[in-house]
Structures are given as structure tokens and as C-alpha cells.
Symmetry: C2
């Protein structure tokens, strides 16, 4: 029966454990040829026809018949109005969250540096912000004000010159909470467009939408495909897969708390993944019971149920060391170390987007207001990528300043290596600055 | 006549300047459907058949008939032998260059940090290296030992667990300088494979080639297309366009020096771009004369001539301020500030990969041995990206550690925002930890 509670139980002692774990973790976003073709067409149209293409696609895909882009543009005044319109408790929560996120991200700001070598050569690195960033915000059910904060605030802290945002408003329905968050996060202009056409507009610019230097923010398969296509023309953030959590419990955290932590991930969508690892089998049973009991009480019960059935798991492992091995193998987006000694485990964690330490730090706190970013590497990409941060909205330039003497000295090495590569104009350009 | 010297002369005062500049800078790498299709097929074959596919493609594309992957693998012993075999001057130059590059990159190492807030909440960021990095090195004419140093050393400094390298050896011809550079740079294993098949092997792993976490290094259109395709499965560096230099001269640098600096870029390939900007028209004439005189003396004259004719330019501008405006608009990979006061201009440079300060700092020094990386953002991507660096081989994990008290306090904000997004399991997971 479809309402029967289902969750996979695995044990690292099982002969087929590796195989089952691989199957559980397998995820590949499929961008089929049809999507690819459609996205290519949309990008080409926006590049050629600019605003006219945006109006046409918005009419077609968002059922919104605008006569000009002015009707699809919201200035800072409109964002401030939205902020005034939402209820005071939400206003305060947004401000508290924004303040905390801002303070954390301030700590990420790198500084430019230079140093002089003994012979007078000065080397260094100059850090500068992007001129303009574009935030893509999905419309409809996935329009999250917290995402606006998390995407725009690092850009703001980085010193980005201008932050623009696009958010589709299918049928013209505008989410005031989203606009209020944009106001709080320093967004200057919002365009109520979405899909591949919004990505194309920000990547190449149109008469109304300014070209940005980097596009960040989540989106559906059309948005993800478009971001991949414009990568290089502009910078992009990671292409996100479904959200996931891995909880490691030592058996002493309240099973209800853990069940709800798993559900908080599972309620996102059917593809979301929630996994609990423990070396205490009885504890896994207790969490399973709690899940079974609490599931029917969830507002988003059907989604959470489907997600847990398809991609959730309770995994029994040998001991704490093996749990950490699993962490590093899975490289989870969110990792809860629901244990008494999280500080001891922390240095052994090599791959994870965000680490929630101890029994009290639920992922939800990090999703909204603890301070660190909630845009995190999914699907094992924490092996090689980082949370969205200030560093995503800045870039570095190398600085090299030779004196006449040091250019002469370095020229010798450059000349030998350039000639070894048969790049003799390189060699000669260095040799011109050599003395003797 | 094709041997007539040709270089575009532009002036910012011309009515059609903007248009001509846009045309000059326009660059788009074209990955046609045929390449895309072929790359998709190769990736699928390597994923399904592993080593067998690598052997088959190497036979087909590199005319190299190996019976097993063992014949296409070189261990650290073989790399050390290559190092002993090259001439002593080259050995010394490689070591000097490696030492300087290592020292510069040491300065880029970020540190993990944590801080405690008044209520006991600990927030932080843990920095960890990648487990394994893969360096793609092109074969044939573009096999540059300096590229091996520049790609592998930042990984080594970052503390990457293992560095593997692929370099195609068409017809079985091995470049000892390249292997010697790999030895110096801390590469552990080399596979003599190339093309999309090498990228696929490193991205997914085969029986012999270990899966890596990030692939860096330049390559032809097949390699670039394959990197774009596996992006997400592994990390990749930027997809590089042709190399470019922008020189700003105040008129007092020897025209022969500047001509050779421009040629050092132009000799790379026909698509390379070399541009000189000055507010001194007579100086531009002098450099043009020097170019005309020196061009026939170049070993790679036909390439440099074609590059200068197709994409080179001497641009007259109004003054220093306008020159800097052009710099920021072009966002060059290499910027030479061949002026008497480079320190004054530096803070105004917003976008450039590497900045070569003053008359003595030729780009060639930075290409080989000054210390900073020579893998730099091309085609204007310095607007949003950075030189390859230690930061490309490390990633960050956010740390959040709440106390019972701070979880209770933060839970209030999280609960309001989560309910505003209708994510009630998020809200309840935070509320469980609230007191009162």
C-alpha cells in the first residue's frame, strides 16, 4: 500500500552494502536533447531579439502579457514597499537572519596582499569584486525568501557594484516575502522573468536587462541547462542537484528530533535525500518508529513520504570511525554530527558542505539564520566545491613588479624554459631586459 | 600580399571605435554538434567499458597500439628518469621556476577559522584539500612543461592527496621535459592518453585510471567540450579561450621591447590576441615600425603574422584615464602596465588576470618563473574569474555549533521564516529545540 511507511535499512556488515549504497546515492540530472534544443533556441532568440524575445517567452511560459519590459521591472521603491507590507514578525525575522548572514560572510572577505623579495621584485594578489551579479530566483512553490538572502548577501558583502534579480511570476502572482528579502539583501532591480530566457538575458544583456558577470541561484532543468550553456560567457555557481542531509547519531539524541531533521530535508521534494547513520541499531529502530509516527502529522506528508521511500535510508555501521568513513565517501551537502563529542570528529571530516555540530544544531537553523550560507554543494560535489560565499563574488589579479635587476636575473630562467618550448619570442622578450 | 605587415590601428576618437573594438574582441569557441556528439559517445564508452575503451581510442586517435593500460602508465620512477635525462641548464631552470611558483602559492593558502558569539554559538569554516586532482596536458606542439608546473604545483601546495596527469603521446613520442616538469611538480602517476577519453577516465575512473575530484589544464575543442560535459561530476577549471595580452604604454618604453612583448603573445597561435594602448600616437607608430622590422626575424613568424593581422591592434586613446577604462572593459588575461607610475594605476584596475607592472616586467617572466600562476582567465572572463591557485584545489565546509540556549533563540527566527515558506518540518525541527 502506498501509505505504508517505507524506509531502506542498510548495514555496513551486509555483503551487498557497497552496491546498495551506490544505488542509493546514484543521482544524475538528465538534460535530454529536447530540453537542450529548446534552451539553445531560447538563448539564441534572446541574444538576437533582446527584450522582444523576453516579452514573447514570458507571454508563452508565464501566461503574462506585458506590453513592455517596464511592466516586468521592479525598482528599489517597489521592493521597499513589499518589505513594509509583510507582517512585522516576518520583517523582524528577515532582518535578524540578514544581519547574522552578513556578519558571518564579513569574515570570509579576503584581503589583497603584496610582498617584496630580497632583490626588489614585488609579487602580490589584488582582490576585486564583480561589477554586477545576477540572482536567479525560482517562481511558484520554490520561491524562497531565504534563498534571496543567501544568494544576494554574499554579493553585497563582497562589494559587488550592482545586484539584479530575476524571478518569474507566472500569471502575475508576486510573492511579497521574496521582494522583501530582496530589499533587505541589497538587490537593486528585479525583473519578473524566469527560465532559460532570464538566464540568457543576464548572460548577454538586452535593452532592459543589464549583462551581469555571474549568475547564481537554483532553478529547474531549463534554468540549469541554460546556466551550463552560458558558463564561460558569465560565471555561474554550481548546478545544484536535490538537497540532502546525512545525520550521524551516537544514539543519545531524541529520536523525534532526528526524525524531524530527516523530514525537514525530505519535505523539499521527492528527490531529496535523508540518511541517518548510527552504530546503535536499537536507536535506528527508535528513529524509524518516530518517523512512522510523525510522518502523518506533516503538512507536506506526501512529498516527505515519497522522498524517504525512494531515497532515504537508516544505515547501521560498526563504530564512529566507520561512520566518518561513510561521511567522507558520501560528501553530504548537510552533515549533522548529532553526537556528544562533535569537536573530536570535526578534523576527520574531509568532505561536507555544512557541518551541524551536536544535538542542538538542527539543519533548519543553518537554512535560515545561523549565519553560514545555505547554498551548498549537493550530490557529492562537496568533494571539490564549497558553500556559496563572498569569494564567489570576487576575483583575484596577480601582481608582478620586477626591477631592472630582478628582470635581468629572472630573464635567464625564463629564456631557458621558453627556448625549451620553442617559444622564442617569449625568450627574446625576456632577453631584451637582460643585462651583460 | 600575404607577407605585407598588417596590424589594425584604432583610435578612441573615431566614430566607429566602439563597433571596431567589439569586433576585435569578439570571440566565441564553437563546439559544433559533431564534436558534441562524438564527445558524448566517447564519455559513454569510457564509463561503460573503462580501460578497454581507453585502449581503443588511443589506438584510433593517437596511433598507439597498447596491449594494456600498463603500457600507457608511467610511475614516479619514470618521471625521475626523465628529469635526470634532460640537460642540466633545463633541470636548473625547472627547479628555479618550481621553487618560485611554490613560494608564491604558499601565500595563497587560506586557514580554517572559528569564532564564538556572545551566546556560545560557534561558527566557522574548515578548509580541506581535494583528495585527488587530475592534470590534463595537451600532446604534440602544445605540450608545455611550464603548464605542468603551473597546473600541478598549486595542487601540491594545497595538500591534494594525489596528483595524476594525462598527456597524449601520439605515435608514442614522449616529451621528456614534460615528464621532468611532472616530477618536479609532485605528480605521482602519468597516463599517456588524451582527448575526451582522458577527461572521461579522470571524471569517472576506470580499472586503471583513478577517479579524480577536479580536472584542470588546457586542451583542444574535444577536451574543452568533454570538460564542460563532466562539470558537476568533477570540478573543472575555466574553459580557456586563446591567450591575450593588453599592453598600456606611456610612450617611454623601448618600442622593440613592446613589439616583442606583443609577439610573445601572437606566436602562441593564430587566434591569440595582442593589443597595445597608448595616448602617444608617435609611440604607436614607432612600435608599429619595430613590429614590421622584427616580425621577419621570428622563428614562429607565420603564426605571429597571422595572429597580429587577424586579432592584433594598436589603439590610440585620449589619456591615461581612458586607457584604464579600456583595460576594465577588455578585462585582459595579461596586462602590462608599461608606464613610469604603475602603482598609481593599479588600484584603478578592476579586471585583469595578471598585471605586469612597469617597463621591465615582461609577460614572459610571469609565464615561466616569476611565481604567480600563468593559467589565467581569458576572453574577458577576468570580469568574474581568477588565476588558477591553491584555492582551486581546496574547498570549505561551514561549521555551526549551537548551544541549547542559542538553538532555542535562533529557533524562533528559523521557525518564522520556515513557516513563511510553508516548510513546516523545518520549522518543527527547530521548534523541538526551543525552550519555554
Amino acid at each position: 500500500m502506498s501509505t505504508e511507511f517505507e524506509v531502506a535499512r542498510l548495514s555496513s556488515a551486509d555483503a551487498d552494502f557497497e552496491e546498495r549504497l551506490d544505488a542509493l546515492l546514484a543521482w544524475e540530472s538528465v538534460s535530454d536533447t529536447r530540453v537542450q534544443h529548446s534552451v539553445d533556441e531560447i538563448i539564441a532568440a534572446v541574444r538576437q531579439q533582446g527584450d522582444a524575445a523576453l516579452l514573447e517567452y514570458t507571454r508563452r511560459f508565464d501566461r503574462l502579457d506585458a506590453g513592455s519590459m517596464a511592466e516586468l521591472s521592479l525598482g528599489s521603491q517597489r521592493l521597499a514597499e513589499a518589505f513594509e507590507r509583510i507582517d512585522s514578525q516576518q520583517r523582524e525575522a528577515l532582518e535578524v537572519a540578514a544581519q547574522r548572514v552578513r556578519e558571518y560572510h564579513q569574515r570570509q572577505k579576503p584581503t589583497s596582499w603584496q610582498y617584496a623579495e630580497a632583490d626588489g621584485t614585488v609579487l602580490g594578489q589584488q582582490v576585486t569584486p564583480l561589477d554586477r551579479a545576477g540572482i536567479y530566483v525560482p517562481g511558484g512553490k520554490a520561491a524562497y525568501p531565504s534563498s534571496v538572502l543567501m544568494n544576494a548577501l554574499p554579493a553585497h558583502v563582497a562589494g559587488v557594484g550592482e545586484i539584479v534579480m530575476t524571478v518569474p511570476t507566472p500569471g502575475g502572482v508576486i510573492n511579497d516575502l521574496v521582494l522583501a528579502a530582496a530589499h533587505v539583501a541589497g538587490v537593486e532591480r528585479v525583473f519578473t522573468i524566469g527560465g532559460a530566457q532570464a538566464v540568457a538575458a543576464m548572460a548577454y544583456g538586452t535593452e532592459s536587462v543589464p549583462r551581469v558577470d555571474k549568475i547564481v541561484g537554483p532553478g529547474n532543468i531549463f534554468v540549469a541547462t541554460a546556466k551550463r550553456a552560458v558558463f564561460g560567457q558569465v560565471g555561474i555557481d554550481m548546478i545544484a542537484g536535490p538537497s540532502e542531509i546525512l545525520v550521524v547519531s551516537d544514539g543519545s539524541t531524541d529520536p523525534d528530533w532526528l526524525a524531524m531533521d530527516l523530514f525537514s530535508q525530505a519535505e523539499h521534494d521527492e528527490d531529496a535525500q535523508a540518511i541517518l547513520v548510527s552504530w546503535d541499531e536499537a536507536h535506528l529502530d527508535a528513529v524509524q518508529d518516530a518517523m512512522q509516527r510523525l510522518l502523518p502529522t506533516l503538512e507536506r506528508e506526501p512529498i516527505a513520504r515519497a522522498s524517504i521511500a525512494a531515497r532515504g535510508a537508516l544505515i547501521a555501521c560498526r563504530d564512529q570511525a566507520e561512520a566518518i568513513e561513510l561521511v567522507n565517501r558520501i560528501a553530504p551537502e548537510h552533515l549533522e554530527l548529532s553526537v556528544g563529542n562533535p569537536e573530536e570528529l570535526l578534523p576527520m571530516v574531509r568532505h561536507a558542505g555544512a557541518i551541524f555540530m551536536g544535538r542542538y544544531t538542527s539543519e533548519a537553523l543553518g537554512d535560515y539564520c545561523a549565519g553560514p550560507n545555505h547554498v551548498l554543494p549537493t550530490s557529492g560535489t562537496a568533494r571539490f566545491s564549497s558553500p556559496l560565499g563572498v569569494y564567489d563574488f570576487q576575483k583575484r589579479s596577480s601582481i608582478i613588479h620586477c626591477t631592472a635587476e630582478s628582470a635581468s636575473q629572472l630573464g635567464k630562467t625564463a629564456s631557458v624554459l621558453a627556448r625549451g618550448e620553442s617559444l622564442t619570442a617569449h625568450a627574446r622578450s625576456a632577453e631584451y631586459r637582460m643585462r651583460d
